[in-house]
Amino acid sequence: MIEIKGVRKSFGDNEVIKGIDLTINKGEVFCLIGASGSGKSTLLQCINGLESIQGGQILVDGHDVHDKRTNINELRQKLGLVFQQYNAFPHLTAIDNVALAPRIVKKMRRSDALALARQHLEYVGLGDKMHLKPKSLSGGQQQRLAIARALAMQPTYMLFDEITSALDPELVGEVLDTIRKLKESGLTIIMVTHDIAFARESADRVAFFDRGKICEIGDARQVISQPREERTRQFLQRVLQ
């Protein structure tokens, strides 16, 4: 369970998250939607501890992410994060990209780490691309590689930060198919997305972010099909046009 309690986050004088309370349950698929700059992606990075917070608390399975006594590197192994810009390590082949963290963070034997990497690359459909460097992969393939890399750490939660936003439209499908597969496996998924149709289809709950606050939260179909708040309605009208 991830508990977000009264979280505030500023960059200098600019407060981007203005007090958010949110609980995400195990096994849930949770989507964050909202305009660019509303603080969704920042919140995701706060959950992973990549960004500091200026107020409130984030608990992951009871561990305070921003407490100095928490072993953040250990906690991060539970929280897979996939970025908009893939961030595949350019100097490593696909299989080494995936095997690196299990090898050096989990201290797995090299052969075990490679076997694990192979298994995850096959899972995301890159079984035939294992020995290619990221440069030789398409955007969609690099993004699936990033998903495999995060999965190889066997996280409890997967955080997806607008992972289809940088992709050509014809490549979005292959990445979303991977997420659908993950959903079936029972993983807890928190996803920032602009793909409203996908959120309605796949998410259990949706939160609509507006200017650093949660404006509306609830069942995915309800929020997207029959929003209660005027601002949610306006936003959905804009993006669904």
Partner: protein
């Protein structure tokens, strides 16, 4: 009876060995100060990029070394140690000055290399649970080295030629040895061409090997 007197004596085989010995000293200067300087540069560049105190604290050393002509630095190092009653041999002055100089050149390359690694990649590595040192050694360093490698080879070749300046403190390396032979034989052109060929023979393998390594490191 006419006696033919000339102030010059012809070239002898011993001159060739003399110049070759100078060439060996040039190679030795380059290898030792190149290695020491690169080590200094790696530590210095990394430290200055990761600590604000060291960035400003060491700025003076870096700026002075980069701005003062190398030939003056040899003389300064030589004089400073003599003033403090610790006279160094010409070889020691040469190695120390060249190492410090190479260190500064390399440190600026290292800084540029570290900055060239996208912050996002380091974030991605952190998100997988890697600690600071794991990110440095497995992500930042390999990527930075690939970026700066060609410029580092260039710096090393520059250093090879800069070793000629050690002659100002009385060390007889390749160029100085050649000058001595020229003074005696007056075969200026021939000897200087020979010296040029020597420098080429020293530098070319470095750039050739560099190019090969560069290709192997490329993210094909």
């Amino acid at each position: 009876m006419v006696i033919n007197i000339t102030p010059y004596s012809g070239l002898q085989w011993s001159d060739f060995w003399y110049v070759l010995d100078g060439a060996w000293r040039t190679v030795m200067l380059t290898i030792v100060s190149g290695a020491a300087g690169t080590l200094i540069g790696l530590v210095l560049g990394w430290a200055r990029e990761n600590s604000v105190i060291l960035r400003y604290g060491l700025a003076l050393y870096v700026d002075v070394t980069r701005s003062v002509p190398l030939i003056i630095q040899f003389i300064l190092v030589n004089s400073v140690f003599s003033i403090f009653g610790l006279p160094l041999t010409p070889l020691e002055v040469g190695l120390l000055t060249l190492s410090l100089y190479m260190g500064v050149q390399t440190s600026e390359l290292v800084r540029a290399g570290i900055r060239s690694v996208p912050e996002q990649l380091q974030k991605a590595a952190r998100s997988l649970g890697m600690n600071y040192w794991q990110v440095q050694t497995h992500i930042t360093a390999p990527l930075a080295i690939r970026t700066i490698f060609p410029s580092w080879i260039g710096t090393l070749i520059g250093l090879t030629k800069d070793t000629a300046l050690v002659s100002v403190v009385g060390y007889i390396e390749l160029l100085r040895a050649a000058q001595i032979v020229i003074n005696r034989s007056n075969e200026t052109l021939l000897i200087l061409i020979g010296v040029g060929v020597f420098y080429f023979i020293i530098c070319y393998p470095v750039s050739l090997y560099g190019r090969r390594l560069e290709r192997r490191l490329a993210h094909d």
